[in-house]
């Protein structure tokens, strides 16, 4: 194909992608190094916007807790995915009856999206009229019924569990695809050597699944860094709807929204751009390092 024709094939995609995806992200990067007065650019600020994230009120008191909550979000979700999710994926491979139906059922919460899931659970978990407390009372566990989303002690764990509930279908699908791709010779050879089912899983299948577990971990990490809708719909933008847990469920995605559109003050553009750059750099660095570790591990295996 001639170069001149090829250009016309690629150009529309190139322009659309460059203008509305690449250019905004590059300008966010540039904006983070300048001081802003509303929408007017002031003098060059160097790293000031970055340091001010950690020194100006109220951000200096919100950012570190939000980072810990985000990490707890990641760790808690991972814990559920790599235990319950992996168990279900392995069982699904072994047990054929109604496999496709079950897989579909597991994936439905994932598809309906964070906002709908959040609003749904905010109704289910409501202190007075909520079905969750009603079922606890119905079986005599009245003492357990509580304001799940309003109590700072339970709010974050509950939000994490709801997130895990929503996303579990995704690792089940990924682990399922990875398990289906494994050559049966490995486990059969181990069987011939006299390994029992547990040994075969722990010594053969699990190491071969590590790349898939790694991919799920990276995607979960990226997802956790971007969490916004679920927390917004469960707890409101300020973490205080309707009678919220204060900042107990603030995550980085929510802080970014608040700095950019609610609390940023006159330098909102500078500060929120700096936060965006930090978030992206952290996400990217972790993803690259994790990916490298997985690759290295993969080579030593084969």
């Amino acid at each position: 194909m001639r170069w001149r024709i090829a250009v016309w094939f690629v150009l529309p995609a190139f322009l659309l992608y460059t203008l509305f995806t690449v250019y905004p992200l590059l300008s966010a990067l540039a904006n983070s190094f300048w001081r802003w007065q509303g929408t007017a650019r002031g003098e060059f600020a160097g790293a000031d916007n970055f340091t001010s994230l950690f020194t100006t009120f109220p951000l200096n008191q919100q950012l570190w807790p939000a980072l810990w909550h985000t990490m707890a979000f990641f760790a808690g979700t991972m814990l559920v995915q790599n235990t319950v999710g992996l168990l279900i994926a392995v069982l699904l491979v072994e047990l054929p009856v109604a496999r496709r139906l079950l897989r579909t059922v597991y994936t439905v919460p994932y598809l309906i999206g964070g906002l709908v899931v959040g609003y749904l659970w905010s109704l289910l978990l409501s202190p007075v009229f909520g079905p969750v407390n009603a079922s606890l009372r119905a079986v005599g566990l009245d003492s357990l019924a509580r304001a799940w989303l309003g109590d700072p002690a339970t709010a974050l764990p509950v939000v994490i569990l709801v997130n895990a509930w929503q996303y579990l279908g995704f690792p089940i699908l990924l682990f399922g695809a990875a398990l289906a791709g494994l050559a049966p010779e490995y486990t059969e050879a181990a069987k011939v050597d006299g390994a029992n089912a547990r040994q075969r899983f722990l010594r053969v299948t699990l190491p071969l699944l590590l790349p898939a577990i790694g991919v799920v971990s990276i995607l979960t990490f990226i997802g956790s860094m971007n969490t916004f809708e679920l927390v917004y719909s469960l707890e409101g933008a300020q973490g205080n709807q309707p009678t919220g847990p204060g900042g107990a469920t603030d995550v980085l995605g929510l802080i970014f929204y608040r700095v950019a559109f609610q609390e940023g003050g006159s330098n909102a553009i500078g500060q929120s751009s700096a936060l965006a750059v930090l978030l992206f750099a952290a996400t990217f660095a972790v993803a690259v390092v994790a990916n490298w570790l997985i690759r290295r591990r993969e080579i030593t295996l084969t």
């Binding site: 024709i5 090829a6 016309w8 094939f9 690629v10 529309p12 995609a13 659309l16 992608y17 203008l19 509305f20 995806t21 690449v22 250019y23 905004p24 992200l25 300008s27 966010a28 904006n31 279900i88 069982l91 699904l92 047990l95 496709r100 579909t104 059922v105 597991y106 994936t107 439905v108 919460p109 598809l111 309906i112 999206g113 964070g114 709908v116 749904l120 659970w121 009229f129 079905p131 009603a134 079922s135 509930w165 579990l168 279908g169 995704f170 699908l173 695809a177 990875a178 289906a180 990226i222 860094m225 971007n226 916004f228 809708e229 309707p242 970014f256 929204y257 909102a268 992206f280 993803a287």
Partner: protein, 271 residues
């Protein structure tokens, strides 16, 4: 061994119940009158009462939210596919000068969190006079889908046998004709995967319309839902009905296109 199988199936169905129970409660409570939902949160509907759907649909303008969501999502996916398909064709099938760099440039987008650029997007749309406009949303959405679409479709084009375009060229067909008559029909499965798989996150997206849309009449479902939850706080039956309306198209889509969704989710895994 038989007990092991029994326990295994028991676990699979137990988790299926966990996954589905909240959705069933949502559906059942949307079909009961509100007073009953509040006094008895866990009951089967005595008779099917669709009045909450009528409330959500007309009183709370869900009719307009659904229409906006359909228009925006379908247009964005269509534009995304229309521009990505020829680009993926060239990048997947021809060795070009700078072709490798271009591919890397597009694929880098798979790693870029578009929403972190929200402020520049906002001001860019401001200069184009496209804030609070469905067209602005369509452009941003279509753009954010280009990397995934190019990635999936280029891989598919790459897998097609080379003889096809040689044969067509010998028959005297021009590039445009080879592309539209020979190649595009062959990558229909990849197009289906992209369409289905891009539809879901765009339908669900809340962040961009939350920032970009101002007029209630132009709200897409997720922002409409937020407004609705503020206004109808005490009408739980209607709230459940609103959630069903927002979720239903996706559940229908999934039942129709399970294969494409599973393929999109597991792209690059296994063999």
């Amino acid at each position: 061994m038989r007990w092991g199988r029994f326990a295994g199936y028991a676990m699979l169905w137990a988790y299926a119940a966990v996954a589905l129970a909240p959705i069933v409660v949502m559906l059942l409570n949307s079909l009961r009158p509100n007073t009953e939902v509040l006094s008895e949160p866990l009951r089967l509907p005595a008779t099917l009462d669709f009045s909450s759907y009528a409330t959500a649909w007309s009183e709370a303008s869900f009719s307009s939210y659904v229409r906006n969501s359909l228009v925006v999502t379908i247009s964005a996916v269509a534009l995304d596919v229309a521009v990505s398909l020829p680009a993926a064709y060239v990048l997947g099938r021809y060795r070009l000068r700078a072709g490798g760099m271009l591919t890397a440039y597009f694929l880098a987008g798979l790693m870029l969190p578009v929403r972190l650029g929200i402020l520049p997007v906002f001001y860019l749309l401001g200069t184009l006079n496209l804030v609070d406009s469905r067209l602005g949303l369509v452009l941003v959405y279509a753009s954010s889908g280009v990397p995934f679409s190019v990635f999936i479709m280029a891989a598919f084009f790459r897998g097609l046998p080379r003889e096809l375009q040689d044969a067509a060229r010998i028959d005297g067909a021009g590039e445009l004709r080879i592309f539209s008559r020979v190649m595009v029909p062959l990558v229909k499965p990849a197009i289906a995967t992209v369409v289905v798989f891009r539809f879901v996150p765009l339908w669900n997206d809340f962040f961009f319309p939350l920032v970009l849309m101002r007029t209630t009449g132009r709200y897409t479902l997720p922002v409409g839902l937020t407004q609705f939850f503020g206004e109808f706080q005490t009408n739980w039956s209607a709230l459940f009905a609103g959630l069903v309306i927002a979720a239903l198209p996706l559940i229908v889509l999934f039942v129709v296109a399970t294969k494409q969704i599973v393929e999109g989710l597991t792209a690059g895994m296994g063999r």
